[in-house]
Symmetry: C2
Subunit: 317 residues, 2 copies
């Protein structure tokens, strides 16, 4: 009987400490979890490729945390709470142990912050770029999930946090924009899934903004069969985004990588929404409204004139 | 509002028909599933890379089915029943619509065979080889899962089906071996997850054989803190593997890609095992035993002499 391949030692060293009881120490063929009684489960999966979704030279811990967080943002978008995740890594030959240690340390930091644990996964070699895939699992009261369908004419359009920082952060990393405080690059590297904001049963529809605000609000329009108006001047900006100046408005509204929530709320529920936002410590801002009509998003400038952009959002192809 | 990116049309065209009710038409940020009452859930994920786990020129439908089946084999290894899956695809630029249609048709065929549905996923571009990741979800009675830990000295070692066909099939595709009937290549392309064989509460331990019989039985030894003996002459071979001849014994026992179950059964439960096997229509064969001692696997030849191999199994690195 020869020694075990290095793969098993690597899993034991770096990933086993991340597994909770359900992960069975990553020693079995699958994880096993007794789901919370009376709750529905939510599932989401996203892949990330070096050179497409992150830079191969990014710190491995930041890559790991972004991978986890973009999936947790989808859990937040359903107004669910996270339980755990599985991750697969296809890594270039020669990836060293320090890389894995750093990647796992990033996951460990976010596991503590978001109270999730590793359920399982797979590592394999690739002749291509580092390619990662993560499946996140959450739970929500049956019927309590936030869906994309449900916005009604007259509902207000809200977003959480600030918009555009992630997209501007990518431009910073590409050398196209200054970022004296580092705030923009930080937002690109490290999304903040809005897990604390309980919108289930309160917002009429919602999603997370990952492909660009205009495009993602368009999803709410198509799902609900109605139009939306965004008032550009109301879109909440960080100090750093405001510093960038008006030339970056299109990037802010269409660039993606926000991982904020966009959602519709009936005017009668506005007080409840303020209370939910205050309880979560997450800022919410009304940026427009839904209206009867074709499923289109109109963006209005300060004078009320419609703005037109060359592209509405980010395509993964 | 510009047209939606091609990505969304592709998802609607090829993947939406695969989604069951829990997949919410792949229109939301996550799938939502009310788990079967009183059942534990099992989760497993595997990645596959073109040029490593399959050939880039393999028919897309076969790639899809292999990806799903290797994960269903892990569900079977826990003696669980499958519920659904999420899949992420990182595809080279220029991958055409016909490729996606064929990939989805493969999934559709296996969804019907194994009664699972698509819960969600992601597609993204890659400058590298086609890279796939799939997470499968199953359910099992709490306490009824088959684990790797639990084999006891005196337990018999069994395998399902036949061993070595997948590994020989790879050699066929590499031009190293003839395969007049095509049976070996077929087993390599299309594993048969042994979902019907109910071993929970009957076998004392078990797993699926994916990295090579010797190495995987070694996992049962390490988990249980005991040794195992495999009698090479008892290992069940297909007609095609037997045709290959004795020169291929090492490949058969260490090559991997079997996706059969290896498991330990107390001698008193032998009659029950025969009944379970008969009920499932899956052949099971006793190939050796577990014994007190160091966690090692010894392979004995026909005369009882120990056989030694250069390698014990497949490493993913």
């Amino acid at each position: 009987m020869t020694a075990l391949p290095e793969e098993f030692a690597r899993i034991a060293r770096h990933f086993r400490p991340l597994a909770g009881p359900a992960g069975l120490g990553l020693r079995d063929d699958a994880a096993m979890l007794e789901p919370p009684a009376g709750r529905a489960l939510v599932f989401t999966a996203d892949a990330m490729v070096a050179g497409v979704h992150f830079l191969a030279t990014d710190p491995p811990g930041l890559i790991a945390r972004k991978l986890l967080r973009v999936n947790l943002s989808d859990i937040a978008a359903m107004s669910a709470e996270p339980l755990g995740y599985l991750v697969t890594l296809s890594v270039p030959h020669g990836t060293d142990d320090a890389w894995f240690a750093s990647f796992a340390a990033g996951l460990a930091a976010d596991q503590a912050e978001f109270r999730v644990s590793l359920l399982g996964g797979d590592t394999t070699a690739t002749p291509g770029p580092l390619t990662l895939s993560l499946t996140a699992i959450g739970h929500v009261a049956p019927g309590g999930a936030l869906r994309r369908v449900g916005a009604l004419p007259g509902d207000a359009l809200f977003v959480s946090g600030t918009i555009g920082d992630g997209a501007l952060g990518l431009r910073v990393l590409q050398g196209k924009l200054d970022d004296p405080t580092g705030a923009l690059a930080d937002r690109y590297h490290l999304p903040r899934p809005r897990l604390g904001l309980r919108l289930g049963g309160l917002a009429s529809a919602g999603l997370d903004v990952s492909d660009g605000l205009v495009q993602d609000v368009g999803h709410l329009c198509r799902a609900g069969g109605l139009g939306a108006v965004i008032e550009a001047a109301r879109v909440p900006l960080s100090d750093a985004a405001r510093e960038a100046g008006p030339a970056w408005l299109e990037t802010i509204l269409t660039g993606g990588d926000d991982y904020e929530l966009a959602f519709s709320v009936s005017p009668e529920r506005a007080v409840e929404l303020r209370a939910a936002a205050a309880a979560s410590g997450i800022q919410v801002t009304r940026i427009g409204r839904f209206e009867a009509g074709a499923p289109e998003v109109r963006v209005l400038g300060t004078g009320g004139a419609e703005l037109h952009f060359a592209r509405s959002g980010w395509s993964h192809f």
